[in-house]
Subunit: 124 residues, 2 copies
């Protein structure tokens, strides 16, 4: 089974999805990511999907689910690099990725996380 | 054919290798990476191979070749995340990855790039 590597950068974790997600890969990623968030105290998770040409309902649910788990562990998830054609298809399929934040690329995603954290700390 | 995504972070490019490299994938990565270094003016390239359980002479040559191309384009390459077992096998095979810089993980690799740049700018 393919295990997707999770890279740590400061207080963020970065995951680049390059392979078609199967059930097992997705489950392993969820587990690994939860463990790493807990172990490192990461506050942000960036998931790069620029290599994906198709995002079906399975991947959509996985992204939403990872985002939900991370939120409970006090980390914000940003999905980055979605191809425009993928966004079009998602909307046509009625998959709106609710609760999932997005950014055009890793840099903008990091900026979003930084701002979210600032606002969070000010708001509390 | 699988195209490996190249992520930009500041003046670094990050590549996570997750799939077994075939000739075509390796050639495409070399081309894409050279184009991106030229287009972005990146000064550093981080190649994460933590997902690879085997690094054979083909991958070893590819890493050395990418490192050489990047150097000509004035960028430093750091290979990060190599599994200890891979390092052992490489040495046993007599592949010393000459000319390729390495670091334990992405964070240390970035630190290495930052220091290399400082020294470079002081030394000139």
């Amino acid at each position: 089974m393919v295990r997707i590597p999770i890279l740590r950068m400061g207080d963020c974790l970065l995951v680049t999805i390059q392979v078609d997600m199967q059930d097992q890969t997705a489950m392993a990623l969820q587990e690994d990511l939860s463990d790493r968030i807990a172990a490192t105290g990461a506050r942000g998770v960036l998931i790069d999907i620029s290599a994906l040409e198709i995002v079906d309902s399975f991947v959509g649910r996985m992204l939403a689910s990872i985002s939900g788990i991370a939120r409970i562990l006090d980390a914000t998830t940003v999905v980055v690099g979605m191809q425009p054609a993928v966004a079009i298809t998602l909307v046509e399929l009625g998959l709106s990725l609710e609760g999932v934040r997005t950014a055009l690329n890793v840099e903008l995603g990091m900026e979003l996380l930084r701002r979210a954290r600032l606002e969070g700390s000010l708001g509390r």
